[in-house]
């Protein structure tokens, strides 16, 4: 029982990171019909920039409070990723907006390689240990169930960000314009919406969330390196499809479900497979679940929202 509870806690933590990244995928897909495969690498850039800033602060300001270091690192990483998202859309995707769908998709994969390579040139091929910015003593809310302060922060921060995003999309003029653009670019622009600006803003928002997710991911596992964005990116994309791509609620549900399935699965995979497989095969669960859901609900758990490109 403690084991199950422990896996649920871990699953929620992993899942909320997936959810934050999935939101970026789903927002861009909802508005452009584009799967931005470079999105996972934005997470990587966020983590490595934060790592760089934290390392520099450590060096030149040894006594600085860890939480202040965290705040400053995030304060640099978020704008850097936002800028990256903007530049990515402006230079790589905007010209391809009316091209056949494969062109932007392949371009996105190209952007992903580019980001990884540039990161490898700057930060090298080695794993960097991410500085522990939180107290490392785990809390024990139930006997036998442990949760680290990093994990608590991840849960609280991602919940806050998701609520904020939902409010932004549903309650503000910007959100209204985003929904209008997602439904139909041309009509939105004929109602006075500058759709290019809205699309830029969407990339900026998604990249900001990815930066936060990157720092969370790196803090949770304690390492960062140039290709760390690939797997969480792929999982988050899976989460977005699982929940119904283009649908914000779906990305959140998909992320959490995927995180839970994966960690709970990893916890029991040995018993389930009679000792044949161990927990390093946990990724099997993510993709088996995706397959099953797509067979029975092709548009995902909460239904797909695709822009009407009339």
């Amino acid at each position: 029982m403690e084991n199950l509870l422990q896996q649920i806690v871990n699953g929620l933590v992993v899942g909320s990171v997936y959810a934050l990244v999935a939101l970026g995928y789903t927002m861009v897909y909802g508005i452009l019909g584009l799967i931005n495969f470079a999105h996972g690498d934005v997470l990587m850039v966020g983590a490595l920039v934060a790592l760089q800033v934290a390392t520099l602060l450590h060096k030149f300001w040894p006594g600085l409070h860890p939480l202040l270091i965290l705040a400053i690192s995030l304060g640099v990483a978020i704008p850097v990723c936002m800028l990256l998202g903007y530049v990515m859309e402006r230079t790589a995707y905007r010209r391809l907006r009316n091209a056949p769908r494969l062109a932007p998709l392949i371009t996105a994969i190209g952007v992903s390689f580019l980001l990884q390579t540039v990161a490898m040139i700057i930060w090298g091929r080695n794993y960097h240990s991410f500085p522990p910015l939180f107290p490392t003593i785990p809390l024990e809310p139930f006997p036998g169930v442990f949760i680290t302060p990093v994990q608590v922060t991840i849960l609280v921060a991602s919940a806050t960000l998701m609520v904020a995003l939902i409010m932004l999309v549903n309650r503000t003029p910007l959100g209204r314009a985003m929904r209008a653009t997602a439904e139909n670019h041309r009509v939105a622009s004929l109602m006075g919406v500058d759709t290019n600006k809205i699309i830029s803003t969407t990339f900026i928002l998604g990249s900001g969330l990815a930066a936060v997710a990157g720092v969370m991911h790196a803090s949770n596992y304690g390492v960062a390196h140039y290709s760390m964005g690939f797997l969480p990116g792929l999982k988050a994309f899976t989460a977005a499809v699982l929940g119904g791509i283009g649908n914000l609620g779906g990305a959140m549900v998909g992320g959490i479900v995927l995180g839970l399935v994966e960690t709970i699965g990893a916890g029991y995979i040995e018993q389930l497979s009679f000792g044949l497989l161990n927990s390093s095969y946990q990724d099997i669960f993510a993709f088996v679940i995706l397959g099953i859901v797509l067979i029975f609900r092709p548009t995902g758990l909460l239904g797909e929202r695709v822009s009407d490109r009339a």
Partner: protein, 258 residues
């Protein structure tokens, strides 16, 4: 009544081998209801698309309220004061009627990311005002009771009204209606006619594309007729109705007959 609001100067547009618009010039005066008619494929909707910036014309320009209109940038054309509706309804289907109209108010609201992150009392006040105005607009076209209904669940006639409300929310000087009576029954058409007259009375100039000749002739101050992308007549309805070229275009053996 005779101040020029919109002047189209030799507008041309080709699609491949088809000359959709061939040097179409026309003048719309402030405060009038101007009809644009013609057989199917005559170029009426192309004219709308070029006017509202959805397409860039191959030749010619529009002068609106004294200065040239930008081409190919719909949101800037809307900002200058031209709003439109669509022949086949294009509402934001996943939004409520109220939200559709509020989307039309987009130009008048602060929608930058910073504005929202630094949300203050001024912004909330603005949002409240926009909501109030959107309700007013729904009342104006007579569908206030459906404010919180998803637009895709509205009846056909009400969807048409909502499109007009959304277009009016952009506060246009010129409202361009693309076949607003299409698919309406006689009662709905009569109500629509009253609505268009009210809109004109409240100071908005109306450009109307319509198939319903009776509606056009009864409602419009002046009418232009397009045929194969060319303007073949422009005058008051009574004169246009008796114009030989127009009768030819509608009833005769088509383009080549005399």
């Amino acid at each position: 009544m005779s101040i020029t609001l919109l002047e189209a100067q030799s507008i041309s547009k080709r699609f491949g081998g088809i000359q959709a618009l061939a040097e179409v010039s026309l003048t719309i005066r402030k405060g009038e209801i101007y009809g644009l008619i013609g057989p199917n494929g005559a170029g009426k909707t192309s004219f709308f698309n070029v006017l509202t910036g959805a397409y860039t014309p191959d030749g010619g320009e529009f002068v609106f309220a004294g200065s040239e209109l930008p081409t190919g940038k719909p949101h800037e054309v809307v900002a200058r004061g031209i709003a439109r509706t669509f022949q086949n309804i294009r509402l934001f289907r996943e939004m409520t009627a109220l939200e559709n109209v509020m989307a039309g108010h987009h130009l008048r609201s602060d929608s930058t990311l910073w504005g929202i992150l630094l949300q203050n009392r001024h912004m909330r006040e603005e949002e409240r005002l926009i909501t109030e105005r959107a309700y007013e607009m729904l009342r104006y076209v007579g569908i206030e009771r459906f404010a919180n209904t998803l637009s895709r669940n509205l009846s056909y006639g009400d969807q048409r009204r909502l499109e007009i409300a959304r277009a009016l929310a952009t506060e246009p000087q010129l409202l361009a209606l693309d076949e607003p009576a299409a698919g309406m029954n006689a009662t709905e058409t009569a109500q629509l006619r009253t609505l268009i007259e009210t809109i004109r009375h409240d100071g908005v100039t109306v450009l109307l594309i319509e198939h319903d000749v009776k509606l056009v002739m009864g409602l419009c101050d002046r009418v232009a007729v397009l045929d194969f992308g060319k303007k073949i007549a422009e005058d008051v309805p009574a004169v246009v109705q008796r114009d030989a070229a127009v009768i030819e275009a509608y009833l005769g053996g088509g383009h080549h007959a005399h």
